[in-house]
Symmetry: C2
Subunit: 564 residues, 2 copies
């Protein structure tokens, strides 16, 4: 018999594609979701939380986005019972598939229409990549059982309110609205309506969806024979005729055509001496390019977006108003426009945008997305638009697989990580400098005294005039107290605003030393206690002034300044 | 070739042992966890959120509770790569195993000691039962790397603050504290100290843990030859001698022995004419049975618990103070007692309780649990104590499997569902009657007007003098508006406090009908519009009084009354 093998130690690692979130990363997201939930709730949406685990049968095995049909789920088979094989279970890959199951299961108990919101992790068994994780948050709101576009308009308005609630200012976002029926109308005028043209339609939709990235020439190539990209890879085109391609490009170029018309109209107005009208039309023309303007200009131009939106609808009527489906889609857009403006959501906050596609095959009516219109630096240092942070639309096959019924539904999903990144970029997240006051330990035998001090701090309001700011965050140092320098290094690592110091001398004299660590941060590395005592950032106060002095230091470092 | 088989429709069901949570079930839990997170944060604990998925290797395959070693995890194997088999992944079964992995993985970046809190779902692959689900929430706080019992005392104090923060009043809970070293001391005096006695120790600990359920006689039987329960099932005993059993029973009966001593002392004091002292001693004696007292009595008796706690420590000294480990455990208890009282946590809020065991094998020092001391009716209508809602203790092998180092840790886990049930029982949860105001639809063509009304409500503070109460929750009816009765049934199902009614007549006259639905709830079932209009619970107000009137109705039905 050989020697027993020593079991190797397990590796302390997350599985590939998973990660840990620490401190402010967690609390900032929680706070953002809380604000969004507040808006959803105010709009009459009810919370729903289903489990992370569903049966594969109920979930459906693949993701809805047929662009990437191979995206998988994490699935496993339960142990068999005596008489039957175990069920296949899987982690949910989104929050819509569970909604379908919940609605089919509980429909007799749910109000109709059913407005629900859900927020929580979902899992995808995909190849992880940079910034692409296999568990991430989704934050959805859907209305089930409401066929009217009022439901879509409501979600667009709610999306705008959500963005403002979390700190995106008006003018820094736009809700882009389109309708899949408009796209179907375009297919019809281009002769791509029949069941036998599904493949071509797929290529065309994918091409339109890439307008932002490829530009009009790239889209045109994909509509025709195909396109070679910079790396030399060739993408097969839809093989449309020149006439078909022109029809679709006139749609794809709506933005340019509407812009040109406005420019011509403005020129006419100028010739006629109507400068005010000319100015309005110019502003309308530029109202869709807010990324090139500062906030004041955004306001100014945004005010004329009503003209732009109406011109886009007119343009669509010219192009596809003759088809039944196109006409219906345009009417929907007009109605959404009217409902939103009635509810006080001016055109400045939304944009009728025929280039919005939102994936393939899934949506059946209005589609919408929230775009942030301020600039950020990308990883290569180039200035670019922040882009989309939420999207959704109407889909009508929600519960059909379960019940056979068609139940209309419309809903939005907010990209939690993207929106957090946006708030980070705008400096809208609570500072990470929220470390606790650290009560240092000069003498282990005096631990009861330190507990008394720390309890005093924790039970005190940060601002006695505003209890909503909460109580002082504070802790006693619990490591080995021998090396005082280590305690200060610890406080530094914790981002502590202040350290409290009380040795036998202080206790006898009834005083406390309080060190302002933000002032003193730079010298913390190698300081000894004696050095610290001589710094002007350290204060000796009577024991009963502990809370008052700490409050003063916190106020001095709070975002709203504080004259010390 | 046969006919193609029709695919049967999938079943719309959660997997066995999983469930959905709706509306207030979700928001009440979220709000409770937010309050707890606030307390954890104030104590200097940092949020940590790890993924639901870990490698089986990092997780360890089995649950720490050796009482139920067969509890499993949900696990699956990843697809193989070209050159190696796929990793085994699993859903976390608690929040402590991931903490161990996180600490081992990130220890160079984490402060030491590291205080962290975590809250989120965990999964157990167990047989589901009534009230026992395979996904549930945990809510933990742990301090890693602090060997001092100050860390344990801090967590006990924090636990008390958490309970009060969520709405459990002082006097309605007690933090019970013990030390596993005390239990080890008992084993030593009973001659059960050696490695060869591990099996007996296991039986003894399990028996002590069942004191609440079996009573002293049941425990005694388990220490001896064994015990037959009511159903006739026999449980093998530890087979201890009478002397051994007596030693352990004297420990198990600490409660009775201390009570008897206090009774004798009180009798002596009475005889000596010292009535005040006698009263104190009686109160001390009954301070541990708060379930039999009303709140005022609880206060009165609780004030003397300091005497009780000290007598328990004295009793333990007599029993096991002669063993090294027992003496050390008692010193720890004394220190925790002193630290908590220094921090202002009077003896009323905690109890030195030698019968606290907290499972087997896992803990190495202080153990603690939070018990709610108010009565509830159990499912059979019997009055009983609510019982434990949180527990934890010190364990020292947290990261040893990863790194070989012993790192001391102590932490608590709050039973989220139990605590929610307790708040429910005490009426401490926000009422579920938080339905939205429903703007009804008399006329589809007037939808823009209804959007205007609902937006007015949503943008209005519930209480203009207190914006912290939030804005009015309101929605437009989005179902088929034809049958007005259905709209009122819908509002009823939603728990709406009020319905807003505006037909062409009202709009022309510039007025709005507002129906107080809480007053009118009983007649909603079959009412027609005309009937409703005549009820005194319905009001006609000018359009510009919409918000004011709705505010009035909300105030009248708010928990703090409101004189209408």
């Amino acid at each position: 018999m050989g020697k027993p093998k020593k079991t190797p130690r397990p590796k302390a690692e997350t599985p590939k594609g998973f990660r840990d979130y620490f401190g402010a990363e967690v609390t900032q997201r929680t706070e953002m979701l809380r604000k969004i939930a507040g808006v959803y709730h105010r709009y009459g949406f009810d919370a729903l939380e289903s489990a992370g685990v569903e049966t594969v049968e109920a979930l459906g095995k693949f993701l809805p986005d047929v662009d990437r049909p191979n995206e998988g789920v994490f699935a496993w088979q339960e142990d068999a019972d005596a008489d039957k094989p175990g069920d296949w279970l899987a982690l949910r890959y989104d929050l819509t598939a569970p909604l379908a199951r919940v609605y089919a299961q509980h429909q007799n108990d749910l109000p109709k229409p059913y407005r629900r919101y859900a927020m929580g992790p979902v899992w995808r068994n995909e190849k992880p990549g940079p910034g692409r994780f296999r568990q991430f948050y989704q934050c959805d709101a859907d209305t089930v059982g409401a066929p009217s576009v009022a439901a879509d308009a409501e979600i667009c308005a709610m999306l705008a309110d959500c963005l403002e609630a979390v700190g995106i200012e008006r003018g820094d976002y736009v809700i882009r609205v389109n309708n899949r029926k408009v796209l179907n109308g375009v297919m019809e005028v281009a002769g791509l309506a029949g069941d036998d043209k599904a493949a071509e339609r797929g290529i065309v939709l994918r091409a339109i969806d890439k307008l932002d990235r490829l530009g009009p020439d790239g889209v045109r190539a994909l509509l025709g024979q195909g396109r070679k990209d910079e790396s030399g890879d060739f993408t097969e085109g839809a093989g449309l005729s020149a006439l078909q391609t022109d029809k679709i490009m006139s749609f794809v170029n709506s933005h340019f055509e509407v812009g040109n018309k406005l420019a011509q109209e403005a020129a006419r107005a100028e010739n006629e001496g109507n400068d005010e009208r000319a100015r309005q039309l110019h502003h309308a023309r530029y109202s869709v390019e807010p990324q090139f303007r500062d906030r004041d200009e955004k306001e100014l131009y945004g005010k004329q977006r009503k003209i732009w939106n109406q011109r886009v609808i007119d343009h669509l009527k010219e192009l596809i108003g003759g088809t039944g489906v196109g006409f219906s889609g345009i009417s929907d857009l007009q109605e959404i426009h009217d409902l939103m403006t009635s509810a006080g959501y001016s055109d400045q906050r939304f944009l009728i945008d025929p280039s919005v596609v939102r994936g393939l095959g899934y949506y059946t009516g209005p589609v919408y997305e929230a775009e942030l219109t301020f600039d950020i630096q990308d990883e290569k240092g180039r200035t670019r638009n922040f882009g989309s942070v939420a999207g959704g639309g109407r889909y009508d096959d929600l519960v059909k697989r379960f019940t056979g019924q068609e139940v209309p539904a419309t809903g939005v999903s907010i990209g939690v990580d993207r929106l957090l990144a946006a708030l980070q970029a705008k400096g809208r997240l609570e500072s990470e400098a929220q470390g606790p006051v650290v009560v240092t330990v000069m003498d282990r035998a005096r631990m009861s005294y330190y507990q008394e001090l720390v309890a005093d701090l924790r039970n005190a309001d940060i601002d006695p005039d505003d209890p909503s700011k909460g109580k002082i965050r504070a802790e006693v140092y619990l490591g080995n107290p021998k090396n005082f320098g280590n305690q200060l290094k610890y406080a530094d690592k914790r981002g502590s605003p202040a350290a409290v110091i009380a040795g036998s001398d202080e206790q006898e004299r009834g005083v406390i030393q309080i060190k302002d660590l933000i002032l003193g941060a730079k010298i913390a590395e190698s300081a000894t206690l004696e050095e610290w005592k001589d710094r002007p950032s350290q204060f000796e106060v009577p024991r009963d002034q502990l809370v008052a002095k700490v409050r003063e230091i916190l106020a001095a470092h709070s975002p709203d300044g504080g004259a010390k």
